[in-house]
């Protein structure tokens, strides 16, 4: 079995408790292969834009994206230093292991 990060689910429980995610428009910076993105999707956000500078990991994230969540999550290659989004676009920005 490959490396299992947080099999006990402490990370996702901490995230769930820390704010209200329902219907929020969310940007995740440093999404990697989408491990955390798919978990955040379970909190009921309005949408998730997930970016990572590594195109290989974005390809993997897209490959792992369940069809049921395809309309909710968009994976894109992108750098935190060069974000190109309009002002006031997101309710929540998550720096996922990337600050």
């Amino acid at each position: 079995m490959p490396l299992a990060i947080d099999p006990a689910g402490k990370e996702i429980r901490a995230l769930k408790d820390i704010t209200d995610w329902k219907d929020k428009r969310l940007l995740e910076i440093g999404c990697g292969d989408g491990r955390l993105t798919l978990r955040l999707a379970a909190f009921g956000p309005g949408s998730i834009e997930a970016i990572d500078p590594d195109p290989r990991r974005i390809r993997l994230a897209r490959k792992n994206l369940p069809a049921a969540q395809a309309s909710l999550i968009r994976f894109r290659t992108g750098h935190a230093e060069k974000l190109r989004y309009p002002a006031d676009e997101f309710d929540v920005v998550v720096f996922a292991w990337s600050l």
Binding site: M1, P2, L3, A4, I5, D6, P7, A8, K10, E11, A14, L15, I18, T19, D20, L27, L36, L83, Y85, P86, A87, D88, E89, F90, D91, V92, V93, V94, F95, A96, W97, S98, L99
Partner: protein, 242 residues
């Protein structure tokens, strides 16, 4: 990009040397502490402190929790460690892994190994537009607060912008919904959350004391255009506006 009043969630390893051990979850036993370069973690802390100091964000919540990376074998752990053993200018971690391997081999049957370390999680809120304000007031009791909410509603103020805080949450839930600038905040968390909104320390203290003394604290987010009218309505109900 981030809306005014929106939040930034900062999730990352806390600046601490992680431990390696045998087992996982409740059966995990520490064997050695890794020697890691923590400069990046401290730099991230400093960067966050700087944006808070400059007023670009307010720290609203913060917590730590323990996170495990679980592997099936010592070989997998070696591969994992090799990544940062190569890129960091630190003493090799190999002796620590060997120590773990000796312990691992003494186990009656092959188990898991795990790297365990603390994680940092914080919510930082971007301040609302400069025009947005908050009225903070103390009311003598729940029925007065209820009357105030009725008056505000009749005047077409949005009760989603109003928080009602009191010790008796059952009564609170009867007269008001969980909304406004203190949405999701428990009575005992009121002071911390009010500080995060930028309320003056003396007002925070008086609000906290009022709740302890069985009074009701109302916080209302308000457009400056309607602030005077709203304040009048508070005063009409004998509110002590802070």
């Amino acid at each position: 990009m981030l809306k005014p009043g929106g939040i930034l969630v900062d999730l990352r390893p806390a600046p601490a040397h992680r431990q390696i051990g045998t087992g996982a979850g409740r059966t995990w036993e520490p064997v050695a502490r890794l020697r890691e370069q923590l400069d990046d973690d401290y730099a991230a802390n400093a960067a966050v402190a700087e944006v808070v100091r400059r007023g670009l964000f307010r720290t609203e919540r913060r917590k730590r929790f323990i996170l495990d990376r679980v592997m099936d074998s010592v070989e997998e752990l070696r591969d994992f460690i090799a990544e940062f053993d190569q890129r960091r200018d630190l003493p090799s971690q190999a002796p620590l892994v060997e120590r773990l391997e000796r312990r691992y081999k003494r186990q009656p049957k092959p188990g898991k190994v795990a790297v365990r370390g603390p994680m940092h999680l914080a919510v930082l809120r971007k301040p609302s537009p400069s025009g947005a304000k908050m009225i903070l007031a103390i009311l003598p009791d729940a029925s007065t607060a209820e009357q105030l909410l009725n008056n505000l509603s009749e005047a077409e103020f949005d009760l989603n912008d109003v928080s009602v805080m009191m010790q008796d949450t059952t009564t609170r839930n009867k007269i008001a919904k969980d909304a406004g600038p203190l949405k999701g905040v428990l009575p005992m968390q009121t002071a911390m959350s009010l500080k995060a909104t930028g309320a003056p320390p003396d007002a925070v203290q008086r609000a906290q004391d009022a709740i302890k003394n069985g009074k009701v604290v109302v916080a209302m987010k308000i457009d400056p255009k309607y602030e005077t009218a709203a304040r009048e309505m508070f005063k009409d109900m004998s509110a002590e506006v802070l």
